[in-house]
Symmetry: C2
Subunit: 343 residues, 2 copies
């Protein structure tokens, strides 16, 4: 029996989650939603995804645009085992009241919502087990997901005592042309930025401080990370080994001539990753430095796609389809064409 999934909000994350669901043997996509007709709504129908109208959307608007709809969100939730909420920040919270009307319906929210919306905040590598059998789970944001992956790789091997991370955020996604800035740098004045507490919502009481700056770019986020470990004598090659043997981390070597986020996106396109997505953390091998007891590294984060495999693993954990996180990640990664060879 396959888990029946509705993706509520067929946007940047939603369309990717929907595609990913269709590639899983243990899941079935029974519907996606849109509030307004658009080329994306049309694309969903063209792909054969049953389309439902959500929120304040009007069915007639879709019909006028020549887009076939199968009903409203509420019409399909009855048949669903789980809804993956990929609506914009804060809307997900409002939707919770709708989901609660269906007593057996589980739900996943994204990192734009507060941790308190769900029973657990989730990262496949760090706390896959925390979602076992849970009804409501939050997959943490792109930046938090990326931090969790590399920090877990270090923590597991070398026992982290302190983390400093400065997050340079991309101002908007490539198609979000209504957002800025286009030529300014904007600090997040509140310290820690939400990323620190968010990492703690997954990794527990780890000592992390974060600051964040918004930059006028659309492609990826970029993190500067400084880590102190309890284990002494850690070398650069120890860190490289730890990253190499950890899921969803792609190391870039000097000879690859990957100078920044633009080259990583070009790499993803050259490798024919669908939509040019990069679901792994991009880490520069030559950017891993050790001075005294501190480890320094930079990582790039593709905000549009990095959480997609995490959503899939979250479903697998919530329905206890697979008890072993490594097996779930392997199934997910193989289905999504994530290239890394997991040892």
């Amino acid at each position: 029996m396959k888990v029946k999934v509705v993706v509520n909000g067929y946007g940047t994350i939603g369309k990717r989650v929907a595609d990913a669901i269709t590639k899983q043997d243990d899941m079935e996509l029974i519907g996606v939603t849109k509030t307004r007709p658009s080329y994306q709504a049309k694309m969903a129908v063209d792909k054969g995804y049953p389309l439902y109208v959500s929120g304040k959307g009007v069915k007639d608007d879709f019909i006028k645009a020549g887009i076939k709809v199968d009903g409203r969100l509420e019409d399909i939730l009855e048949s669903a085992d789980i809804v993956v909420d990929t609506t914009p920040e804060k809307i997900g919270k409002e939707n919770k009241d709708i989901y609660l009307k269906y007593s057996d319906l589980k739900a996943i929210w994204q990192g734009g919502e507060k941790a308190s919306i769900a029973d657990a905040s989730f990262n496949a590598l760090v706390n896959y087990e925390a979602a076992f059998g849970k009804k409501f789970v939050r997959v943490v944001s792109c930046n938090t997901t990326a931090l969790c992956r590399t920090l877990y790789a270090i923590h597991k091997n070398f026992d982290i005592s302190h983390i400093t991370a400065v997050i340079v955020r991309r101002a908007s996604d490539p198609a979000e042309t209504e957002k800025g800035p286009i030529n300014s740098l904007e600090p997040s004045l509140k310290v820690p930025s939400h990323h620190g507490p968010d990492v703690q919502s997954v990794m527990g009481n780890i000592d992390i401080e974060t600051m964040a700056i918004k930059a006028p770019t659309t492609l990826m986020h970029l993190h500067s990370v400084i880590v102190t470990c309890k284990k002494k004598g850690v070398t650069v090659s120890d860190i490289i080994s730890a990253f190499e043997s950890t899921e969803r981390i792609r190391l870039f070597n000097g000879w690859e001539h990957i100078f920044g986020t633009a080259q990583i996106m070009e790499f993803a396109k050259d490798n024919a990753f669908y939509r040019g997505d990069m679901m792994e953390n991009g880490v520069w091998s030559d950017g891993i430095n050790i001075i005294g007891s501190k480890i320094y590294y930079y990582q790039a984060v593709h905000q549009e796609s990095i959480v997609i495999p995490e959503n899939i693993d979250a479903i697998r954990s919530m329905f206890e389809l697979e008890k072993d996180k490594y097996k779930s990640m392997r199934i997910t990664d193989e289905s999504l064409g994530i290239l890394k060879n997991i040892k």
Copy 2:
């Protein structure tokens, strides 16, 4: 008797230094140089600055363009007391051999050159005295200058034990259209970035670690700074007081609605600062946070102008025109219209 100054390289920094020299009672601008005719070369002549041809420049090219030149660099160095070298990175080093031919000629280089080029690396606030009577001085780079100012304010009052700074660098100056990136974030893979050792070249053996990321913006740099002090119980208002009472730091309050570097540049234009320059550090009051023993703040740095007052003070120190750094800075700041009320 006024100090006779030649500005070698009438570009982004050079044209500003030249203008600043003309505003000092104790200095005289006796010449500026260009290698090629351009609107800037024409502007120098229109301002009444004697123009000389430098480097591989050809005098006839200027004459053909209708720009009056008074000779070559070497023709004016004989009469100069000091040359301020504002040529592009690395060219300054080559020029040293020229300057050495004039036995009494002093020289200032900018932060693009290595510390070893000069007898001292200079920041007016931190080590004005280090340039007393010196022949060769290097004014540190824009980012290092900005770090020195706020770090000195904190260090003087609260005794710094450790600094972490992540520098988000503007990719190019507004008119440097040949440079990129325009949509990418690029890490400086070598840690520490040059800024840490550069701060030490001025502040001595202070414990500082720096990382740097290049962002696609032209206006200003932006720093995330984390400082630990030996003095306990420091409050946000202590830091605000320290910054308020320190030269060349402009605090921006929440009600001013300065969200990022774009608003700071707008503020500078609204205040009719010539060229829209902002020679002070821009620090967000609401971005000053204290958690445990750590101080967090953000500062914006106008790369084109922040070092201008430092060049003026360096000249005053090298010729011992003024023994007191605070008096020199006050003279400079009043002449340049730096608005801050120094207490």
